[in-house]
Symmetry: C2
Subunit: 289 residues, 2 copies
C-alpha cells in the first residue's frame, strides 16, 4: 500500500437530504472512496436561519463527523457554505471544501473568450442570496464580472412535495426566472443542492445559450482534485479489498425519507443511523476556547 | 385584589411565527392578560419532523416558559399539539391547552341538527395529518363522525413568501382542496396556525356552506374559558395598574421577521428577545427522571 494513500472516509453534510446530489457526483468521480453523510433533518431548512445559528449547527456537525474519522469535509449545503465556511476552515485541521468557490471558478470562465465583462446568474435560498457569498466569490475570482442573484424560496418545498412535473412548478419558475432572460447571462449557478432535479425546466426558461452550473457537482469535482493533489485518495478495493463503505447519519427520522433520498441519490441507500441529538454537542462543548 | 386572581402570564409557543394568529385571538378575548410567546425559529418547521423530536423540542420550550412564570400553557402549534400534548400534560403542573380538541368540539356540533353522521374536514401539515390526532379527537368526542383529512404542505411556504394574492396560491389550493367540494362537509378545521391568513380563498374553493373553524382562535377561546372557570384571570389594569405586558422570545433571528410577525399578529410588536440556544436545555437536563 502506498503511504500517501488514505482509506479514511470523505465527510459530507447538508441541512437535509439535498446534499445527496453532491454525494452522487462524488461517488461517480471517486468510485473507490467511502462517504459519511450527515443530514440535519431535525433542523432543516437552514435557508431562513441566521448566520450565528447556521455556523453553530455546522460546527456541531463537523465535530460529529470528525469522530467518524474523516479525511476531508465537503460542506454540501449552500447556506452553510455561505455563512460558516471560513469558521470551519479556521477550526478544523482537515481540508474543508464548500459549494461556493468551485462553481464560481467555472462560471467566470464560461462561454467564448471575450473582452467584455462576463455576466453570471445565481439562484438559491433566501439566506444564500442575502449572504452575498456567491457575489463576493465572483468579485474575488474575476473582479468586474456582472452578477445577478435571485432567491427562489419555493423551489425546495415544491421539489420535496414531488411536484417535479407539475404546472405549478413551471409557473413559479417563470415568476422567479423569467426576468433573467433579459440579462444576457453566459452562465447560471444552481446555488442549492435541490436544483439539479429541476435543471431541465430552468434551462428551458432561461434559454439554451445559458450554461447551467451545478454547485454540488463542481464541489465534488474540486474535492476529487484536492484529494488527488495531496495524495489522499483511497486504494481501489479498500484496505480489506471489500470496496468503499458508505454510511448516512440523520438527526431525525423523516417522513418519506427513502423516496426523497433515492430521488436525490439516484440509487440504493447505504446503512442509515438516526443520531440522538445529545450526540450533537453545542458549540461551546465541541470547541472549548 | 381578589385572591383567586392571577397576574402571571399566559405562555404560548409555536414552531415559528404562525402561533401569533392564536395570540391575536387571545389578546382579543382577554385584553387584561399578559402573554409570553416563544417561537422556535431556529428549528422551524416541525411539520416534517418525527414525534420524538417534536416532543423533545416541546418539552425544552415548556421548561423555558415555566421559568418565565406562566400560569398556563397554550400549545399553538398543531404539530406539537398532535404529537406532544399528552406528554406535556403529564409533565407540567400548570394547565396545558392544545389546538386539537377545541376546534373539534366546535366541528362536531356545527351545522343544523341532524340524525345523519356529521362530515368534518381537516387540513394541516403532513405531520398533523399523518399523526391522526384530529381524527382521533373527532372519534373520541363524537364517534361515527365522518372525517376527511388533507395535508397541504405548500401552504406555509407560499404564505411565508407573501404570495397571499398570487395565482399560484389559488392553483395550489385548487389542487389540495378541489376534491373536498364533493365531500358534503359541514365544517373544515384549519389545522395550522398559518391558514387563517388564507381563509377567504379556502372558503371560496370549498363553498360557502362549509363552516371554517380556526384552530388557534378556538384554542384561545378555550384558554379564556379555562382561566375564568378556575379563577385564574388577571385583574384589569394589572397589579401595577399599567396594563398587560407581553414579551416575545425567538430561538433565532429571522429574515423579514417584523413583516411576517405583523401579518400574523395584526398589530404592533411587544419587546422581542432572541434566546441563546444553550438556554434551551435538552430533555434529560430539563426533566431529570
Amino acid at each position: 500500500m502506498n503511504g500517501t494513500q488514505d482509506q479514511r472516509s470523505i465527510g459530507v453534510f447538508d441541512s437535509g437530504l439535498g446534499g445527496l446530489t453532491a454525494v452522487r457526483e462524488l461517488v461517480r468521480a471517486l468510485p473507490d472512496e467511502s462517504v459519511v453523510y450527515f443530514g440535519d433533518t431535525a433542523r432543516v431548512p437552514y435557508g431562513s436561519k441566521s448566520r450565528a445559528t447556521v455556523t453553530r449547527f455546522s460546527l456541531e456537525i463537523a465535530h460529529f463527523l470528525l469522530r467518524q474519522d474523516i479525511k476531508c469535509l465537503l460542506v454540501a449545503c449552500n447556506t452553510a457554505s455561505s455563512y460558516a465556511l471560513e469558521t470551519l476552515k479556521a477550526r478544523l485541521e482537515i481540508p474543508v471544501i464548500g459549494v461556493i468557490d468551485p462553481p464560481v471558478g467555472v462560471a467566470v470562465t464560461a462561454g467564448p473568450p471575450t473582452s467584455a465583462p462576463r455576466r453570471v446568474g445565481v439562484i438559491g435560498t433566501q439566506a444564500t442570496v442575502t449572504s452575498g457569498a456567491y457575489a463576493q466569490a465572483v468579485e474575488r475570482l474575476a473582479p468586474g464580472t456582472h452578477v445577478v442573484s435571485r432567491a427562489c424560496p419555493l423551489f425546495v418545498p415544491l421539489i420535496e412535495e414531488g411536484w417535479l412535473d407539475h404546472p405549478v412548478l413551471r409557473r413559479v419558475a417563470e415568476e422567479y426566472l423569467g426576468e433573467l432572460r433579459d440579462e444576457r447571462l453566459e452562465s447560471l449557478i444552481l446555488g442549492c443542492t435541490h436544483y439539479p432535479l429541476i435543471a431541465s425546466l430552468v434551462q428551458e426558461i432561461v434559454g439554451p445559450q445559458v450554461r447551467l452550473i451545478d454547485s454540488g457537482a463542481e464541489a465534488a469535482t474540486a474535492t476529487a482534485a484536492l484529494l488527488r493533489r495531496r495524495g489522499l485518495l483511497a486504494t481501489a478495493g479498500g484496505e480489506s479489498g471489500a470496496g468503499p463503505r458508505h454510511h448516512f447519519y440523520l438527526s431525525d427520522e423523516r417522513l418519506s425519507f427513502e423516496r426523497v433520498a433515492r430521488t436525490f441519490l439516484g440509487g440504493d441507500l447505504p446503512p442509515i443511523t438516526i443520531v440522538d441529538q445529545t450526540d450533537l454537542p453545542w458549540f461551546e462543548r465541541a470547541f472549548p476556547v
